[in-house]
C-alpha cells in the first residue's frame, strides 16, 4: 500500500524528547474515539496514524500483523479478499479508525460473544514504552505461554501503558452467508427463545433487543435457515446486513439521543429494574442505556448484579467514566502504569483520574 511507513524511530525520538521536556502526550490513532474515556487533557497530541501498513499476512496461518496506525478499512479489505475477517467486528464507521486504536480501546461489535474480543484475538505486539524502549511480547503463533501475557494487557488499556507499534491478530474465516431473523414475541419470551437457540448450538453471530423488537443474526445457508425457522416457529426477516453494521457503529435511531449513554456489561440473564428502555446486544451481556440518573445510582444497580458500567458518551467527562475500582486493584494498576510508563507520559487521566 502507498503510505506504508515504519515510524518507530521517529516515535521513539518523540518519547525521548517528551521525557527530556517532562511533557505528556495524548496518543491518537485517528481520533475517532475522542468522545470516549475521561475528558481529553491539554497535552501535546502524538499522531500515530502515519506508522501504518500491513507487515505480514498469511491466510493459512490465520494471522495478520500490521502497524498500529493502519486503518481498519485497509485491514478488513485485505482479509475480505481471502474470505477472512477480524472476529471481534470492531466498529469503524467512516473507515478512519486504526487497528492500534481499536485494540487500545478494546471495544467489540455484535459478534463478540461468538467471535471473541480484541484481547482474545491479540497474539503479539511490538510496544514502545514510556522509557522509549521497543519491546516484543507474544508473537504470531496461536499458543504462547512464555512469560506473562503482556500483549493482551494492552487491549482496553486506552493507550495508557505504551504505543502499539505493531500488533499480530488472529483472524478467522468469514461465514459464507449470514441471515437475520426477527423474533416476533414479547421481550421476555424472545430472550428465552434466544437462550434456547444458543443452548441448541444454533449458529448465532449477533443478537439485538429493544422494546418490542428482537432479532438474531445466523451464519448458515438458506436451507439451514429454513429448518431453524421451522423448528422455532420464526419468520425470516428482510433485515439487511446494514442493520448490524448500523448497530455496530451506533448509527441506529436509538443512538441519536443527547443524554448520557451508559454501556452496561452484565451476566446475560441479570435482571435490572429500570424504567428506561435498554438496547441489548450479546444476548443480554451488553446493554445500552440513555439516562440522566446519577452515576452512582446506575453503578450501584449494575454492581449489585456483578456487572460494571461505563459512561460511554455525553454527560460530564471529568469524573469517573469507567467503573471505579477496588482500592487494591487500582493500586496494582498504578503499579503496572509505573512499570510501563514511569514518567506518566501517556494519556494522563484518560482512563482513571489516578494515572
Amino acid at each position: 500500500m502507498s503510505g506504508d511507513q515504519d515510524q518507530s524511530s521517529r516515535l521513539q525520538a518523540n518519547i525521548k524528547d517528551a521525557i527530556a521536556e517532562r511533557s505528556c502526550l495524548r496518543l491518537m490513532g485517528s481520533g475517532s474515539k475522542d468522545f470516549y474515556g475521561r475528558g481529553l487533557g491539554q497535552q501535546k497530541v502524538l499522531d500515530l496514524s502515519g506508522n501504518r501498513g500491513i507487515v505480514s499476512y498469511e491466510p493459512t496461518e490465520l494471522v495478520i500483523t500490521a502497524r498500529g496506525g493502519t486503518p481498519l478499512d485497509e485491514i478488513e479489505a485485505a482479509l475480505e479478499a481471502n474470505g477472512q475477517m477480524l472476529p471481534f467486528e470492531p466498529p469503524h464507521f467512516d473507515g478512519k479508525g486504526t487497528i492500534g486504536g481499536a485494540i487500545a480501546a478494546g471495544l467489540s461489535g455484535p459478534r463478540r460473544p461468538w467471535g471473541g474480543s480484541p484481547r482474545d484475538l491479540l497474539l503479539g505486539i511490538k510496544l514502545l514504552d514510556g522509557q522509549g524502549r521497543i519491546m516484543s511480547f507474544g508473537g504470531q503463533v496461536m499458543k504462547n505461554v512464555a512469560g506473562y501475557d503482556i500483549s493482551r494487557l494492552m487491549a482496553g488499556a486506552m493507550g495508557t501503558l505504551g504505543i502499539l507499534l505493531e500488533v499480530s491478530i488472529k483472524v478467522l474465516p468469514k461465514p459464507v452467508e449470514e441471515h437475520s431473523l426477527i423474533i416476533d414475541r414479547d421481550p421476555d419470551s424472545a430472550t428465552r427463545l434466544i437462550g434456547e437457540m444458543i443452548a441448541d448450538s444454533q449458529p448465532i453471530t449477533a443478537s439485538y433487543s429493544l422494546a418490542d423488537k428482537q432479532a438474531v443474526r445466523l451464519a448458515c445457508n438458506h436451507q439451514r435457515l429454513g429448518a431453524i425457522c421451522l423448528k422455532y416457529g420464526l419468520q425470516e426477516s428482510s433485515e439487511s446486513s446494514d442493520f448490524w453494521q448500523q448497530l455496530r457503529d451506533q448509527k441506529l435511531d436509538f443512538f441519536q439521543q443527547s443524554k448520557p449513554l451508559w454501556r452496561l456489561s452484565l451476566k446475560p440473564t441479570s435482571p435490572l429494574e429500570l424504567t428506561e428502555p435498554c438496547l441489548q446486544e450479546w444476548s443480554g451481556g451488553l446493554r445500552w442505556l440513555y439516562s440522566e440518573r446519577p452515576a452512582t445510582e446506575i453503578r450501584t444497580l449494575v454492581e449489585s448484579q456483578g456487572g460494571h458500567a461505563i459512561q460511554f458518551r455525553n454527560g460530564d467527562r471529568s469524573g469517573d467514566i469507567f467503573h471505579p475500582l477496588h482500592p487494591r486493584i487500582l493500586q496494582i494498576q498504578q503499579g503496572l502504569k509505573a512499570v510501563f510508563d514511569p514518567h506518566g507520559l501517556f494519556n494522563p487521566g484518560r482512563h482513571y483520574s489516578d494515572y
Binding site: G106, A155, L266, Q333, G335
Partner: protein, 486 residues
C-alpha cells in the same frame, strides 16, 4: 540458615487443623516433584488446607515470616512449575475441590481450584454443557493449575485456551488479600488483569476460585483419520485444511514412532506403517458435520493422504482419540525415561522443523517421537532416554534445548501450553532480550514485591541469561545461523 522445619510446622499447627500440616521427611517425599520428575526438591513443609480462608491465613503468615510459597494443584505440570522450594512451603490446593455452582442459563460454572478439569465437564453434562479446554491430562489436572499454566488441549483450536474460557478468578495476594479479577459478564473495568493471572505459573497470586464458560455439547462429533507416507506432506495437509476455511474442533498429528507406541498401548486402530497420521474432528449439527467431514476427507485426499477413514461409530471415534490422548504414557513405555518438549511454530514451518528434529535425533543418538496439536502449530517432541546411563539426561536436555531454540528461530515460542517453570528457564534467554525480561520482573514485583511466590521460576535473572548466552554462543556463532531471525 533459614527457618527450621519443626518450628515452622509448630506455627502452622496453630493456624490449621493438624491433618493439613505435613512435615515428616518420609511424608514430604511424594511432593518432591511434579510431572517433570527429572527435577526434585524436598520442601520445608507441605500444607493441605481445606478452605480459601485457611489459604488466606497461610499466606498472611508466610508473608509476615517472609517464607517462600509454591502452589501446587494436581502436580501434573511438565515444566517443574510446582517443584518445591527447599526453604519454603508447598501449598497444595487439591482439597479445595468443590463445584460451587453451575449456572445453566448463563452457561457458567463456579469451581474451586482443586477441581479436576474433567470433573467440570462431568458436572455440566446433565445440563447439556461441557468445559471445552481438554488437556490430555484432564482426568488428573486441576482447574487452578490450568489457569496458572493457561493450559490447552485438543479442542483449543476452535474453542480457545484456558484464557478464552475463564471469565473470573478469585485471587489471594501474597499478603492474603482476596481480589475478584474479571467478572461474570464479558468484560471487567480497568486493565485486563485476568490476562496477566492466566499463565502466571503461581508467581503473582493464588487462585482460590474460578468461573469458567461452559459450551453446549454439540449434537454430533465426527473424526477423520488420515494416513500419510511422508511427514512433510501431512504438515502441508494441515495448512490446506485451514486455508480452505475450515476450523476443525481438533486437528492433531502423530508421527510413526508415537502412533506405533499408541497402537501397542491402547489398540486405537492406527495404520502402523504410516509415516504420520492426522486426526481431524468436526462438530456441530448432524447436517453440518456430515457436510464438513466430506469436505475434510476430500481435502486430505487431495493433499496426498494415502488413506482417510472416518469413525464408524462413537466407540471407534473414542478409540481414535484414546490413542492420541494416551500418546505420552504410550511413548513412555518405549524407554525408561522421556522428556516432553512444548514449542509452538507457525504451521507453515512444520515440515522443515520436523526434518531438523530428525537430524538432531541422529546427532544426539536419542530417539524422538512427535505428537502435535498440529492445528495450533504446537509440537510435543518426546525425547527418549535412560537416566541411568551416565550423561544421557544431560544429552536429552541439550537436545530439547536445541529444539526450543529452533522454534524461536523460525518465529515461534519455547512453550505453547506447559509453561516455563524451572525447565525452560534458560531458553527464556533465547526468546527474550533484557528489556522484556526486566519488564517481566517488574510486573511480578507489582504483585509480589518480596519475591515470595514461586521464586526462581518462569523468568530468568539477567545474570543467568548472561551466563547461558556465554555457554551457548560458541565462538561467537549463534545456533541456526542459516535461519532468518525474528
Amino acid at each position: 540458615m533459614g527457618i527450621d522445619r519443626q518450628s515452622l510446622a509448630a506455627e502452622f499447627l496453630n493456624i490449621l487443623p493438624s491433618d493439613c500440616v505435613i512435615f515428616r521427611e518420609e511424608e514430604l517425599i511424594p511432593f518432591e516433584c511434579d510431572g517433570l520428575s527429572a527435577y526434585r526438591k524436598v520442601p520445608l513443609i507441605v500444607l493441605l488446607p481445606y478452605t480459601a480462608e485457611q489459604v488466606e491465613l497461610v499466606l498472611k503468615h508466610c508473608h509476615e515470616k517472609q517464607v517462600p510459597v509454591v502452589a501446587r494443584g494436581a502436580g501434573t505440570g511438565l515444566s517443574g512449575g510446582a517443584l518445591p522450594h527447599e526453604q519454603g512451603v508447598l501449598l497444595s490446593l487439591a482439597r479445595l475441590n468443590k463445584i460451587v455452582e453451575i449456572d445453566q442459563d448463563n452457561r457458567l460454572a463456579c469451581v474451586q481450584p482443586g477441581v479436576r478439569n474433567l470433573a467440570v465437564s462431568e458436572a455440566a453434562k446433565p445440563y447439556g454443557l461441557y468445559y471445552a479446554p481438554d488437556p490430555s491430562s484432564q482426568i488428573a489436572c486441576s482447574i487452578g493449575g490450568n489457569v496458572a499454566e493457561n493450559a490447552g488441549g485438543v479442542h483449543c483450536l476452535k474453542y480457545g485456551l484456558t484464557l478464552h474460557n475463564v471469565v473470573q478468578v478469585t485471587l489471594l495476594t501474597i499478603d492474603g488479600e482476596r481480589l475478584t479479577i474479571g467478572s461474570n459478564g464479558l468484560d471487567a473495568p480497568g486493565l485486563d488483569l485476568l490476562t496477566l493471572i492466566t499463565g502466571s505459573e503461581g508467581m503473582l497470586g493464588l487462585v482460590v476460585e474460578v468461573v469458567v464458560k461452559l459450551l453446549p455439547i454439540p449434537e454430533r462429533q465426527q473424526v477423520a483419520l488420515a494416513a500419510f507416507d511422508d511427514v512433510e506432506i501431512a504438515g502441508k495437509a494441515v495448512a490446506e485444511i485451514i486455508a480452505k476455511g475450515i476450523l476443525p474442533a481438533g486437528l492433531e498429528m502423530m508421527d510413526n514412532l508415537s502412533l506405533r507406541a499408541a497402537e501397542d498401548f491402547v489398540h486405537a486402530g492406527y495404520p502402523t506403517d504410516a509415516a504420520a497420521i492426522l486426526l481431524c474432528e468436526v462438530d456441530g449439527s448432524e447436517d453440518e458435520v456430515s457436510e464438513e467431514i466430506m469436505r475434510v476427507r476430500q481435502i486430505l485426499l487431495d493433499s496426498g493422504a494415502r488413506e482417510v477413514r472416518t469413525a464408524e461409530d462413537e466407540t471407534e471415534r473414542m478409540r481414535f482419540w484414546a490413542g492420541r490422548k494416551n500418546a505420552f504414557p504410550a511413548v513412555g513405555r518405549l524407554a525408561p525415561d522421556y522428556y516432553c518438549m512444548d514449542g509452538t511454530i507457525p504451521r507453515n514451518q512444520l515440515g522443515k522443523v520436523l526434518t531438523m528434529i530428525g537430524e538432531m535425533s541422529e546427532k544426539y543418538g536419542l530417539p524422538c517421537a512427535n505428537v502435535f496439536h498440529a492445528g495450533d502449530g504446537n509440537l510435543h517432541p518426546l525425547i527418549l532416554y535412560d537416566a541411568n546411563n551416565e550423561g544421557e539426561l544431560e544429552k536429552a536436555e541439550e537436545f530439547g534445548g536445541e529444539i526450543l531454540e529452533l522454534c524461536v528461530a523460525v518465529g515461534g515460542t519455547i512453550t505453547g501450553e506447559h509453561g516455563v517453570g524451572i525447565e525452560k528457564i534458560n531458553q527464556m534467554c533465547a526468546q527474550f532480550p533484557d528489556p522484556e525480561l526486566e519488564t517481566f520482573h517488574a510486573v511480578k514485583a507489582v504483585f509480589d514485591p518480596h519475591n515470595l511466590l514461586n521464586p526462581g521460576k518462569a523468568i530468568p535473572t539477567l545474570a543467568r541469561c548472561a551466563e547461558f548466552g556465554a555457554m551457548h554462543v560458541h565462538a561467537g556463532k549463534l545456533r541456526f545461523p542459516e535461519l532468518e531471525r525474528f
